[in-house]
Protein backbone atom coordinates (compact mmCIF):
# COMPACT_ATOMS: atom_id res chain seq x y z
CA UNK A 1 0.00 0.00 0.00
CA UNK A 2 2.81 2.36 0.92
CA UNK A 3 4.60 1.62 -2.30
CA UNK A 4 1.40 2.37 -4.25
CA UNK A 5 1.11 5.74 -2.51
CA UNK A 6 4.71 6.43 -3.30
CA UNK A 7 4.11 5.59 -6.93
CA UNK A 8 1.09 7.92 -7.11
CA UNK A 9 3.10 10.64 -5.41
CA UNK A 10 5.95 10.14 -7.87
CA UNK A 11 3.58 10.37 -10.81
CA UNK A 12 2.05 13.55 -9.43
CA UNK A 13 5.50 15.04 -8.95
CA UNK A 14 6.46 14.07 -12.50
CA UNK A 15 3.27 15.60 -13.89
CA UNK A 16 3.86 18.77 -11.90
CA UNK A 17 7.42 18.93 -13.18
CA UNK A 18 6.19 18.49 -16.71
CA UNK A 19 3.73 21.31 -16.28
CA UNK A 20 6.41 23.59 -14.93
CA UNK A 21 8.92 22.64 -17.62
CA UNK A 22 6.47 22.98 -20.49
CA UNK A 23 6.46 26.33 -22.24
CA UNK A 24 3.43 28.40 -21.39
CA UNK A 25 0.55 27.74 -23.76
CA UNK A 26 0.14 30.47 -26.32
CA UNK A 27 -2.91 32.38 -25.34
CA UNK A 28 -2.55 35.26 -27.77
CA UNK A 29 -3.95 35.00 -31.30
CA UNK A 30 -1.31 34.80 -34.05
CA UNK A 31 -0.27 38.13 -35.46
CA UNK A 32 -2.35 39.00 -38.55
CA UNK A 33 -0.70 39.16 -41.96
CA UNK A 34 -0.63 42.75 -43.21
CA UNK A 35 -0.94 43.53 -46.90
CA UNK A 36 1.35 46.42 -47.77
CA UNK A 37 2.18 48.55 -50.79
CA UNK A 38 4.08 51.68 -51.64
CA UNK A 39 2.63 55.10 -50.98
CA UNK A 40 1.75 55.54 -54.68
CA UNK A 41 -0.45 52.45 -54.65
CA UNK A 42 -3.94 53.46 -55.78
CA UNK A 43 -6.33 53.41 -52.83
CA UNK A 44 -6.07 51.81 -49.45
CA UNK A 45 -8.03 48.61 -50.02
CA UNK A 46 -7.78 45.40 -52.04
CA UNK A 47 -10.35 42.68 -52.39
CA UNK A 48 -9.40 39.23 -51.19
CA UNK A 49 -10.25 37.91 -54.66
CA UNK A 50 -7.85 40.37 -56.34
CA UNK A 51 -5.15 39.66 -53.79
CA UNK A 52 -5.44 35.91 -54.38
CA UNK A 53 -5.61 36.26 -58.15
CA UNK A 54 -2.56 38.49 -58.42
CA UNK A 55 -0.50 36.09 -56.30
CA UNK A 56 -1.80 33.22 -58.51
CA UNK A 57 -0.16 34.86 -61.51
CA UNK A 58 -3.26 36.53 -62.92
CA UNK A 59 -3.09 39.98 -64.47
CA UNK A 60 -4.83 42.36 -62.05
CA UNK A 61 -5.17 46.13 -62.32
CA UNK A 62 -6.44 48.46 -59.62
CA UNK A 63 -7.21 52.06 -60.42
CA UNK A 64 -5.63 51.58 -63.83
CA UNK A 65 -2.36 50.42 -62.32
CA UNK A 66 -1.00 46.94 -62.98
CA UNK A 67 -0.39 45.14 -59.68
CA UNK A 68 2.99 43.48 -59.20
CA UNK A 69 2.99 40.86 -56.43
CA UNK A 70 6.23 40.34 -54.53
CA UNK A 71 6.69 37.14 -52.53
CA UNK A 72 8.87 36.45 -49.52
CA UNK A 73 11.35 33.54 -49.76
CA UNK A 74 9.70 30.12 -49.85
CA UNK A 75 10.86 29.15 -46.35
CA UNK A 76 9.98 32.47 -44.65
CA UNK A 77 7.30 31.96 -41.95
CA UNK A 78 5.12 34.75 -43.31
CA UNK A 79 5.31 33.29 -46.84
CA UNK A 80 4.19 29.91 -45.52
CA UNK A 81 1.31 31.53 -43.67
CA UNK A 82 0.36 33.65 -46.71
CA UNK A 83 0.41 30.71 -49.14
CA UNK A 84 -1.70 28.72 -46.74
CA UNK A 85 -4.14 31.50 -45.86
CA UNK A 86 -4.59 33.14 -49.25
CA UNK A 87 -3.72 30.55 -51.89
CA UNK A 88 -4.74 27.50 -49.89
CA UNK A 89 -1.36 25.88 -50.51
CA UNK A 90 0.66 23.92 -47.98
CA UNK A 91 4.45 24.38 -48.25
CA UNK A 92 4.95 21.00 -49.96
CA UNK A 93 2.37 21.87 -52.62
CA UNK A 94 3.65 25.32 -53.59
CA UNK A 95 6.41 24.19 -55.95
CA UNK A 96 4.19 21.58 -57.60
CA UNK A 97 1.48 24.20 -58.10
CA UNK A 98 3.81 26.52 -60.02
CA UNK A 99 5.42 23.76 -62.10
CA UNK A 100 1.94 22.64 -63.15
CA UNK A 101 0.84 26.20 -63.89
CA UNK A 102 3.87 26.70 -66.13
CA UNK A 103 3.25 23.46 -68.04
CA UNK A 104 -0.37 24.48 -68.66
CA UNK A 105 0.81 28.01 -69.54
CA UNK A 106 -1.66 29.44 -67.05
CA UNK A 107 0.64 31.83 -65.24
CA UNK A 108 4.03 32.30 -63.69
CA UNK A 109 4.90 32.81 -60.04
CA UNK A 110 5.39 36.30 -58.64
CA UNK A 111 8.86 37.68 -58.17
CA UNK A 112 10.37 36.28 -54.99
CA UNK A 113 12.55 38.60 -52.94
CA UNK A 114 15.54 37.09 -51.21
CA UNK A 115 14.36 38.31 -47.80
CA UNK A 116 11.18 39.74 -46.25
CA UNK A 117 12.99 43.04 -45.76
CA UNK A 118 13.83 43.24 -49.45
CA UNK A 119 10.19 42.49 -50.32
CA UNK A 120 9.17 45.55 -48.27
CA UNK A 121 11.78 47.69 -49.98
CA UNK A 122 10.60 46.61 -53.44
CA UNK A 123 7.01 47.34 -52.49
CA UNK A 124 8.10 50.77 -51.27
CA UNK A 125 10.04 51.54 -54.45
CA UNK A 126 8.11 49.98 -57.34
CA UNK A 127 4.79 51.54 -58.30
CA UNK A 128 2.06 48.91 -58.22
CA UNK A 129 4.09 46.43 -56.16
CA UNK A 130 2.36 44.70 -53.29
CA UNK A 131 3.55 42.29 -50.63
CA UNK A 132 2.71 41.15 -47.11
CA UNK A 133 4.36 42.00 -43.87
CA UNK A 134 4.55 41.57 -40.16
CA UNK A 135 3.94 44.68 -38.08
CA UNK A 136 7.58 44.80 -37.01
CA UNK A 137 8.79 45.17 -40.60
CA UNK A 138 6.68 48.21 -41.48
CA UNK A 139 8.29 51.48 -42.45
CA UNK A 140 7.15 54.96 -43.40
CA UNK A 141 7.39 54.25 -47.14
CA UNK A 142 4.69 51.59 -46.94
CA UNK A 143 0.99 51.74 -46.37
CA UNK A 144 -1.08 48.91 -45.00
CA UNK A 145 -4.08 47.99 -47.10
CA UNK A 146 -7.40 46.82 -45.84
CA UNK A 147 -8.74 43.61 -47.37
CA UNK A 148 -12.39 43.65 -48.40
CA UNK A 149 -12.68 46.80 -46.33
CA UNK A 150 -11.44 45.16 -43.13
CA UNK A 151 -8.28 46.16 -41.30
CA UNK A 152 -5.91 43.46 -40.15
CA UNK A 153 -6.82 42.13 -36.75
CA UNK A 154 -10.44 43.25 -36.91
CA UNK A 155 -13.32 40.77 -37.03
CA UNK A 156 -13.94 39.50 -40.57
CA UNK A 157 -10.39 40.10 -41.83
CA UNK A 158 -10.14 37.69 -44.75
CA UNK A 159 -6.61 36.39 -44.22
CA UNK A 160 -6.69 33.71 -41.55
Amino acid sequence: MTSRKLAVFAILLWALACLRLSPPLASAAPEPILIVAGLTFPGTDITFANLKSTFRGQSISIGGKHIIPINHPLEAPLRIAFDRGVLGLEPAAVGRFWVDMRIRDEGKPPTTASSPELAQRIAASLPGAITYSAKALLNAKLKVLTVDGKAAGTPGYAIK
Binding site: H66, R96, V99, I122, T146
Partner: protein
Protein backbone atom coordinates in the same frame (compact mmCIF):
# COMPACT_ATOMS: atom_id res chain seq x y z
CA UNK B 1 -19.12 48.94 -47.99
CA UNK B 2 -16.87 51.73 -46.84
CA UNK B 3 -13.30 50.74 -46.25
CA UNK B 4 -12.08 50.94 -42.69
CA UNK B 5 -8.98 53.06 -42.21
CA UNK B 6 -5.74 51.22 -42.62
CA UNK B 7 -3.34 51.17 -39.68
CA UNK B 8 -0.52 53.64 -39.94
CA UNK B 9 3.05 52.32 -39.67
CA UNK B 10 4.39 53.01 -36.22
CA UNK B 11 7.83 54.18 -37.20
CA UNK B 12 10.18 54.32 -40.11
CA UNK B 13 13.69 52.98 -39.78
CA UNK B 14 16.39 55.53 -40.18
CA UNK B 15 18.07 53.87 -43.16
CA UNK B 16 16.89 54.34 -46.71
CA UNK B 17 14.23 51.85 -47.63
CA UNK B 18 13.67 52.70 -51.26
CA UNK B 19 15.64 50.89 -53.95
CA UNK B 20 17.24 52.60 -56.90
CA UNK B 21 16.16 51.89 -60.47
CA UNK B 22 19.43 50.04 -61.00
CA UNK B 23 18.78 47.81 -58.02
CA UNK B 24 15.28 47.05 -59.26
CA UNK B 25 16.56 46.38 -62.78
CA UNK B 26 19.05 43.88 -61.36
CA UNK B 27 16.08 41.92 -60.06
CA UNK B 28 14.29 42.04 -63.42
CA UNK B 29 12.00 44.83 -62.21
CA UNK B 30 11.76 48.19 -63.87
CA UNK B 31 10.24 51.60 -63.23
CA UNK B 32 10.82 52.88 -66.73
CA UNK B 33 8.60 55.75 -67.89
CA UNK B 34 5.22 54.55 -69.03
CA UNK B 35 3.71 52.61 -66.18
CA UNK B 36 2.35 50.04 -68.60
CA UNK B 37 5.83 48.70 -69.21
CA UNK B 38 6.91 48.62 -65.59
CA UNK B 39 8.23 45.31 -64.28
CA UNK B 40 8.02 43.53 -67.63
CA UNK B 41 10.68 40.94 -68.25
CA UNK B 42 11.07 40.84 -72.02
CA UNK B 43 13.74 38.16 -72.16
CA UNK B 44 13.13 34.94 -74.12
CA UNK B 45 12.45 32.08 -71.70
CA UNK B 46 13.05 28.41 -72.39
CA UNK B 47 11.43 25.69 -70.34
CA UNK B 48 9.55 22.47 -70.99
CA UNK B 49 9.15 18.88 -69.95
CA UNK B 50 10.36 15.45 -70.93
CA UNK B 51 9.72 11.84 -70.08
CA UNK B 52 11.08 8.36 -70.61
CA UNK B 53 9.43 5.09 -69.75
CA UNK B 54 8.72 1.47 -70.41
CA UNK B 55 5.68 -0.52 -71.48
CA UNK B 56 5.33 -4.20 -70.78
CA UNK B 57 2.50 -6.49 -71.90
CA UNK B 58 1.12 -8.66 -69.11
CA UNK B 59 -0.50 -11.09 -71.52
CA UNK B 60 -0.37 -14.85 -71.98
CA UNK B 61 1.65 -15.83 -75.05
CA UNK B 62 -1.56 -17.11 -76.62
CA UNK B 63 -3.25 -13.68 -76.48
CA UNK B 64 -4.23 -12.27 -79.85
CA UNK B 65 -3.28 -8.83 -78.57
CA UNK B 66 0.42 -9.66 -78.58
CA UNK B 67 1.92 -7.39 -81.22
CA UNK B 68 -1.40 -5.65 -81.96
CA UNK B 69 -0.96 -1.96 -82.51
CA UNK B 70 0.77 -0.31 -79.57
CA UNK B 71 0.84 -3.56 -77.58
CA UNK B 72 4.32 -4.79 -78.33
CA UNK B 73 5.15 -8.44 -77.75
CA UNK B 74 8.06 -7.58 -75.52
CA UNK B 75 8.85 -5.12 -72.80
CA UNK B 76 10.19 -1.95 -74.39
CA UNK B 77 11.88 1.13 -73.00
CA UNK B 78 11.14 4.34 -74.81
CA UNK B 79 11.99 8.01 -75.03
CA UNK B 80 8.64 9.77 -74.72
CA UNK B 81 8.13 13.51 -74.90
CA UNK B 82 10.77 16.17 -75.24
CA UNK B 83 8.73 19.37 -75.34
CA UNK B 84 10.46 22.73 -75.41
CA UNK B 85 8.53 25.86 -74.40
CA UNK B 86 9.50 29.29 -75.68
CA UNK B 87 7.84 32.28 -74.07
CA UNK B 88 8.49 35.98 -74.35
CA UNK B 89 6.70 39.12 -73.22
CA UNK B 90 6.66 41.61 -76.07
CA UNK B 91 5.01 44.26 -73.88
CA UNK B 92 3.26 44.17 -70.52
CA UNK B 93 0.11 42.85 -72.19
CA UNK B 94 1.34 41.02 -75.29
CA UNK B 95 3.29 37.78 -75.15
CA UNK B 96 4.09 34.78 -77.29
CA UNK B 97 4.10 31.12 -76.39
CA UNK B 98 5.50 28.28 -78.45
CA UNK B 99 5.81 24.58 -77.67
CA UNK B 100 7.76 22.20 -79.86
CA UNK B 101 7.87 18.45 -79.39
CA UNK B 102 10.98 16.71 -80.65
CA UNK B 103 10.21 13.16 -81.75
CA UNK B 104 11.94 9.98 -82.83
CA UNK B 105 9.03 9.46 -85.19
CA UNK B 106 8.35 8.72 -88.00
CA UNK B 107 11.06 6.07 -87.71
CA UNK B 108 9.47 2.73 -86.86
CA UNK B 109 5.84 3.67 -87.34
CA UNK B 110 3.77 1.63 -89.83
CA UNK B 111 4.16 2.77 -93.43
CA UNK B 112 0.65 3.77 -94.61
CA UNK B 113 1.59 2.91 -98.19
CA UNK B 114 2.68 -0.60 -97.32
CA UNK B 115 0.21 -3.50 -97.56
CA UNK B 116 2.58 -5.84 -95.75
CA UNK B 117 3.04 -3.88 -92.55
CA UNK B 118 6.46 -2.48 -93.34
CA UNK B 119 7.77 0.10 -90.93
CA UNK B 120 9.06 3.51 -91.95
CA UNK B 121 12.85 3.51 -91.92
CA UNK B 122 14.57 6.87 -91.54
CA UNK B 123 18.13 5.57 -91.66
CA UNK B 124 20.39 7.89 -93.60
CA UNK B 125 24.13 8.17 -94.01
CA UNK B 126 25.66 10.67 -91.61
CA UNK B 127 28.18 12.72 -93.60
CA UNK B 128 29.75 13.97 -90.35
CA UNK B 129 30.62 10.39 -89.37
CA UNK B 130 32.03 8.76 -92.51
CA UNK B 131 28.54 8.02 -93.77
CA UNK B 132 27.64 5.74 -90.90
CA UNK B 133 23.87 5.30 -90.49
CA UNK B 134 21.83 7.64 -88.31
CA UNK B 135 18.07 7.83 -87.85
CA UNK B 136 16.39 11.19 -88.20
CA UNK B 137 13.28 12.17 -86.31
CA UNK B 138 10.61 14.80 -86.60
CA UNK B 139 9.22 17.78 -84.76
CA UNK B 140 5.65 18.57 -83.93
CA UNK B 141 4.48 22.11 -83.17
CA UNK B 142 2.18 21.57 -80.22
CA UNK B 143 1.33 25.20 -79.52
CA UNK B 144 2.21 28.53 -81.06
CA UNK B 145 0.24 31.64 -80.28
CA UNK B 146 0.46 35.30 -79.62
CA UNK B 147 -1.64 36.52 -76.73
CA UNK B 148 -2.99 39.93 -75.85
CA UNK B 149 -4.37 40.49 -72.38
CA UNK B 150 -6.69 43.48 -72.60
CA UNK B 151 -8.10 42.64 -69.19
CA UNK B 152 -8.02 39.55 -67.04
CA UNK B 153 -11.56 38.92 -68.24
CA UNK B 154 -10.72 39.51 -71.90
CA UNK B 155 -7.70 37.90 -73.52
CA UNK B 156 -7.13 37.10 -77.17
CA UNK B 157 -4.97 34.43 -78.73
CA UNK B 158 -4.16 33.78 -82.36
CA UNK B 159 -2.34 30.70 -83.60
CA UNK B 160 -2.34 27.08 -82.51
CA UNK B 161 -3.65 26.34 -79.02
CA UNK B 162 -4.76 23.38 -76.97
CA UNK B 163 -8.52 22.99 -77.26
CA UNK B 164 -9.84 24.45 -74.01
CA UNK B 165 -11.94 21.57 -72.77
CA UNK B 166 -11.95 19.54 -69.59
CA UNK B 167 -8.96 18.96 -67.36
CA UNK B 168 -6.64 16.43 -68.97
CA UNK B 169 -6.14 18.23 -72.26
CA UNK B 170 -5.17 21.44 -70.50
CA UNK B 171 -2.93 19.67 -67.94
CA UNK B 172 -1.15 18.46 -71.07
CA UNK B 173 2.35 17.66 -69.75
CA UNK B 174 3.49 14.34 -68.30
CA UNK B 175 4.79 15.84 -65.02
CA UNK B 176 1.38 17.43 -64.39
CA UNK B 177 -0.77 14.46 -65.41
CA UNK B 178 -1.06 11.86 -62.66
CA UNK B 179 -1.27 8.54 -64.57
CA UNK B 180 0.96 7.29 -67.40
CA UNK B 181 -1.76 6.51 -69.91
CA UNK B 182 -4.41 8.84 -71.30
CA UNK B 183 -8.04 7.78 -70.78
CA UNK B 184 -9.74 6.45 -73.93
CA UNK B 185 -11.95 9.54 -74.32
CA UNK B 186 -8.91 11.80 -74.39
CA UNK B 187 -6.73 9.58 -76.58
CA UNK B 188 -9.55 9.02 -79.11
CA UNK B 189 -9.89 12.80 -79.45
CA UNK B 190 -13.64 13.07 -79.04
CA UNK B 191 -12.63 16.72 -78.88
CA UNK B 192 -9.68 17.75 -81.08
CA UNK B 193 -6.53 18.03 -78.99
CA UNK B 194 -5.50 21.33 -80.54
CA UNK B 195 -6.78 23.77 -83.13
CA UNK B 196 -5.55 26.64 -85.25
CA UNK B 197 -7.44 29.92 -85.26
CA UNK B 198 -8.56 32.48 -82.73
CA UNK B 199 -9.29 32.13 -79.04
CA UNK B 200 -10.96 34.53 -76.64
CA UNK B 201 -10.71 33.69 -72.97
CA UNK B 202 -11.02 35.28 -69.59
CA UNK B 203 -11.92 34.89 -65.98
CA UNK B 204 -13.25 37.04 -63.19
CA UNK B 205 -13.99 36.74 -59.51
CA UNK B 206 -17.63 36.59 -58.52
CA UNK B 207 -16.77 36.71 -54.82
CA UNK B 208 -13.86 36.02 -52.48
CA UNK B 209 -14.01 32.27 -53.14
CA UNK B 210 -15.89 32.01 -56.44
CA UNK B 211 -14.38 32.56 -59.88
CA UNK B 212 -15.91 32.14 -63.30
CA UNK B 213 -14.16 31.70 -66.62
CA UNK B 214 -14.84 31.13 -70.29
CA UNK B 215 -13.14 30.24 -73.58
CA UNK B 216 -14.41 30.76 -77.11
CA UNK B 217 -12.56 29.63 -80.21
CA UNK B 218 -12.97 29.90 -83.96
CA UNK B 219 -10.73 27.56 -85.92
CA UNK B 220 -10.13 25.45 -89.01
CA UNK B 221 -11.53 22.54 -87.02
CA UNK B 222 -10.17 19.14 -87.90
CA UNK B 223 -8.80 17.79 -91.13
CA UNK B 224 -5.70 16.21 -92.57
CA UNK B 225 -3.82 19.53 -92.64
CA UNK B 226 -5.99 21.66 -90.38
CA UNK B 227 -2.89 23.35 -88.96
CA UNK B 228 -2.64 25.44 -92.11
CA UNK B 229 -5.42 24.59 -94.55
CA UNK B 230 -9.18 24.26 -94.23
CA UNK B 231 -10.92 22.15 -96.87
CA UNK B 232 -14.39 23.53 -96.14
CA UNK B 233 -16.08 26.84 -95.37
CA UNK B 234 -17.41 25.76 -92.01
CA UNK B 235 -15.21 27.16 -89.33
CA UNK B 236 -15.30 25.18 -86.11
CA UNK B 237 -16.39 26.77 -82.85
CA UNK B 238 -15.60 25.76 -79.28
CA UNK B 239 -17.12 27.14 -76.11
CA UNK B 240 -16.25 26.47 -72.52
CA UNK B 241 -17.43 27.85 -69.19
CA UNK B 242 -16.14 26.96 -65.75
CA UNK B 243 -16.70 27.78 -62.10
CA UNK B 244 -14.09 27.52 -59.37
CA UNK B 245 -14.83 27.52 -55.67
CA UNK B 246 -11.88 27.53 -53.28
CA UNK B 247 -13.64 27.83 -49.97
CA UNK B 248 -13.34 24.10 -49.21
CA UNK B 249 -10.25 22.83 -50.94
CA UNK B 250 -10.59 23.76 -54.61
CA UNK B 251 -13.54 22.63 -56.68
CA UNK B 252 -13.69 23.29 -60.40
CA UNK B 253 -16.64 22.37 -62.59
CA UNK B 254 -16.79 23.02 -66.31
CA UNK B 255 -18.73 22.36 -69.48
CA UNK B 256 -17.47 22.45 -73.07
CA UNK B 257 -18.90 22.15 -76.57
CA UNK B 258 -17.32 21.84 -80.00
CA UNK B 259 -18.97 21.94 -83.41
CA UNK B 260 -17.07 21.63 -86.64
CA UNK B 261 -16.73 19.86 -89.95
CA UNK B 262 -13.96 17.46 -90.90
CA UNK B 263 -13.14 17.50 -94.60
CA UNK B 264 -10.37 15.73 -96.47
CA UNK B 265 -9.96 16.70 -100.11
CA UNK B 266 -7.51 16.88 -102.95
CA UNK B 267 -7.23 19.36 -105.78
CA UNK B 268 -6.09 17.89 -109.08
CA UNK B 269 -5.03 19.84 -112.12
CA UNK B 270 -6.58 19.15 -115.52
CA UNK B 271 -7.29 20.83 -118.82
CA UNK B 272 -10.19 23.27 -118.76
CA UNK B 273 -13.10 23.00 -121.25
CA UNK B 274 -11.45 25.53 -123.54
CA UNK B 275 -8.49 23.21 -123.94
CA UNK B 276 -6.09 26.03 -123.15
CA UNK B 277 -6.23 26.77 -119.46
CA UNK B 278 -5.52 24.59 -116.48
CA UNK B 279 -8.40 23.91 -114.14
CA UNK B 280 -8.21 22.58 -110.60
CA UNK B 281 -10.95 20.21 -109.53
CA UNK B 282 -11.68 19.43 -105.90
CA UNK B 283 -12.31 15.81 -104.93
CA UNK B 284 -13.83 15.39 -101.51
CA UNK B 285 -12.51 12.23 -99.89
CA UNK B 286 -14.42 12.44 -96.66
CA UNK B 287 -16.55 14.99 -94.86
CA UNK B 288 -18.63 14.86 -91.72
CA UNK B 289 -19.98 17.17 -89.02
CA UNK B 290 -18.89 16.69 -85.44
CA UNK B 291 -20.67 17.83 -82.30
CA UNK B 292 -18.84 17.16 -79.04
CA UNK B 293 -20.07 17.96 -75.56
CA UNK B 294 -18.21 17.53 -72.30
CA UNK B 295 -18.50 18.06 -68.57
CA UNK B 296 -15.68 17.97 -66.07
CA UNK B 297 -15.09 18.13 -62.34
CA UNK B 298 -11.93 18.42 -60.29
CA UNK B 299 -11.74 18.69 -56.53
CA UNK B 300 -8.58 18.90 -54.49
CA UNK B 301 -8.63 19.00 -50.73
CA UNK B 302 -5.27 18.75 -49.01
CA UNK B 303 -3.64 15.74 -50.64
CA UNK B 304 -6.90 14.40 -52.05
CA UNK B 305 -7.58 14.60 -55.79
CA UNK B 306 -10.90 13.67 -57.38
CA UNK B 307 -11.17 14.25 -61.11
CA UNK B 308 -13.68 13.18 -63.73
CA UNK B 309 -14.67 13.98 -67.29
CA UNK B 310 -17.63 12.92 -69.41
CA UNK B 311 -17.50 13.43 -73.17
CA UNK B 312 -19.87 12.66 -76.04
CA UNK B 313 -19.27 12.97 -79.75
CA UNK B 314 -21.78 12.76 -82.59
CA UNK B 315 -20.36 12.27 -86.05
CA UNK B 316 -22.67 12.67 -89.06
CA UNK B 317 -21.41 12.24 -92.61
CA UNK B 318 -22.27 14.51 -95.50
CA UNK B 319 -23.95 11.98 -97.83
CA UNK B 320 -21.99 13.01 -100.90
CA UNK B 321 -18.79 12.56 -98.89
CA UNK B 322 -19.57 9.21 -97.30
CA UNK B 323 -16.81 7.49 -99.22
CA UNK B 324 -15.67 4.04 -98.14
CA UNK B 325 -12.58 1.96 -98.61
CA UNK B 326 -11.50 -1.65 -98.74
CA UNK B 327 -11.07 -2.89 -95.19
CA UNK B 328 -7.78 -4.82 -95.15
CA UNK B 329 -8.88 -6.96 -92.20
CA UNK B 330 -12.32 -7.95 -93.50
CA UNK B 331 -11.55 -7.81 -97.23
CA UNK B 332 -14.81 -5.91 -97.83
CA UNK B 333 -15.66 -2.47 -99.12
CA UNK B 334 -17.03 -0.53 -96.16
CA UNK B 335 -18.56 2.91 -96.12
CA UNK B 336 -18.23 4.84 -92.87
CA UNK B 337 -21.33 5.18 -90.75
CA UNK B 338 -22.57 7.96 -88.52
CA UNK B 339 -21.47 7.42 -84.96
CA UNK B 340 -22.33 8.35 -81.44
CA UNK B 341 -19.49 7.92 -78.99
CA UNK B 342 -19.49 8.67 -75.33
CA UNK B 343 -17.21 7.92 -72.48
CA UNK B 344 -16.08 8.94 -69.06
CA UNK B 345 -13.29 8.46 -66.62
CA UNK B 346 -12.89 8.97 -62.91
CA UNK B 347 -9.57 9.44 -61.18
CA UNK B 348 -8.99 9.45 -57.45
CA UNK B 349 -5.68 9.79 -55.68
CA UNK B 350 -4.16 10.96 -52.45
CA UNK B 351 -0.74 12.64 -52.25
CA UNK B 352 1.11 12.06 -49.01
CA UNK B 353 3.75 14.50 -47.87
CA UNK B 354 6.14 11.56 -47.46
CA UNK B 355 8.24 11.74 -50.68
CA UNK B 356 5.20 13.10 -52.49
CA UNK B 357 3.75 9.62 -52.92
CA UNK B 358 0.31 9.44 -54.52
CA UNK B 359 -1.49 6.13 -54.99
CA UNK B 360 -4.22 6.48 -57.59
CA UNK B 361 -7.01 4.61 -59.29
CA UNK B 362 -8.58 5.40 -62.65
CA UNK B 363 -11.73 3.77 -64.04
CA UNK B 364 -13.04 4.51 -67.50
CA UNK B 365 -15.40 3.55 -70.29
CA UNK B 366 -15.73 4.30 -73.98
CA UNK B 367 -18.90 3.33 -75.83
CA UNK B 368 -19.22 3.79 -79.60
CA UNK B 369 -22.50 3.16 -81.40
CA UNK B 370 -22.67 2.70 -85.15
CA UNK B 371 -25.89 4.40 -86.26
CA UNK B 372 -26.48 2.21 -89.35
CA UNK B 373 -25.90 -1.40 -88.38
CA UNK B 374 -26.31 -0.90 -84.63
CA UNK B 375 -22.82 -2.19 -84.05
CA UNK B 376 -21.48 -1.22 -80.69
CA UNK B 377 -17.99 -1.20 -79.30
CA UNK B 378 -17.50 -0.94 -75.58
CA UNK B 379 -14.18 -0.64 -73.81
CA UNK B 380 -13.94 -0.64 -70.04
CA UNK B 381 -10.67 -0.04 -68.32
CA UNK B 382 -9.06 0.54 -65.01
CA UNK B 383 -5.60 1.58 -63.98
CA UNK B 384 -3.98 1.51 -60.58
CA UNK B 385 -0.63 3.03 -59.87
CA UNK B 386 1.74 5.11 -57.85
CA UNK B 387 2.79 8.65 -58.73
CA UNK B 388 5.83 9.70 -56.72
CA UNK B 389 6.90 13.35 -56.86
CA UNK B 390 9.87 13.63 -54.48
CA UNK B 391 10.72 17.09 -55.80
CA UNK B 392 8.46 19.54 -57.58
CA UNK B 393 9.89 19.02 -61.04
CA UNK B 394 10.40 15.25 -61.02
CA UNK B 395 7.78 12.48 -61.14
CA UNK B 396 8.10 8.69 -61.08
CA UNK B 397 5.07 6.64 -62.13
CA UNK B 398 4.35 2.93 -62.13
CA UNK B 399 0.97 1.72 -63.33
CA UNK B 400 -1.04 -1.41 -64.06
CA UNK B 401 -3.64 -1.06 -66.84
CA UNK B 402 -6.40 -3.43 -67.78
CA UNK B 403 -8.87 -3.10 -70.67
CA UNK B 404 -12.00 -5.20 -71.25
CA UNK B 405 -14.20 -5.52 -74.33
CA UNK B 406 -17.61 -6.80 -73.18
CA UNK B 407 -18.99 -6.62 -76.74
CA UNK B 408 -15.86 -8.14 -78.27
CA UNK B 409 -13.36 -6.42 -80.52
CA UNK B 410 -11.93 -6.90 -84.00
CA UNK B 411 -8.95 -8.73 -82.51
CA UNK B 412 -10.22 -10.63 -79.50
CA UNK B 413 -12.67 -10.45 -76.60
CA UNK B 414 -9.85 -11.19 -74.18
CA UNK B 415 -8.73 -8.42 -71.85
CA UNK B 416 -5.58 -6.40 -72.45
CA UNK B 417 -3.18 -6.02 -69.53
CA UNK B 418 -0.16 -3.76 -69.41
CA UNK B 419 2.40 -2.57 -66.91
CA UNK B 420 3.89 0.83 -67.59
CA UNK B 421 6.43 3.05 -65.93
CA UNK B 422 7.48 6.62 -66.58
CA UNK B 423 9.93 9.19 -65.33
CA UNK B 424 8.79 12.71 -66.19
CA UNK B 425 10.39 16.00 -65.37
CA UNK B 426 9.94 19.69 -65.96
CA UNK B 427 12.84 21.94 -66.82
Amino acid sequence: MEAQPAPVPEAAPAEEVELTDAELAAMGLSTEPGSASAAVDTSLKFSGFADVGFISPALPTSSEFNGAGAVNRHTSFYVGNLNLYLTKNLTSSIRMMGEIRFMLLPNGSPDPDSATGQLINTNVDDYTDFGRPIQWGGINIQRLYIEWTAYRALQFRAGQYLTPYGIWNVDHGSPTIVPVQKPFIIGQQLFPERQVGLEVLGQFDASAHNSLGYDLTLSNGTGPVSTYKDFDRNKAVTGRAWWRFDGFGELRIGGSAYYGRYTAATNTAGLAEDGVHVKYTEHIQSSYDVLSLAADLKWTYGGLLVQSELITQQRKYIESARIGALNPLLGEYLAPNDKLSWGAYGLIGYRFEWFGVMPYLLVQRLDTNDAVNSGRTVTNGFSAGLNVRPIDALVFKIEYDEGHFPKGSLISADPVRLIQGQIAWAF
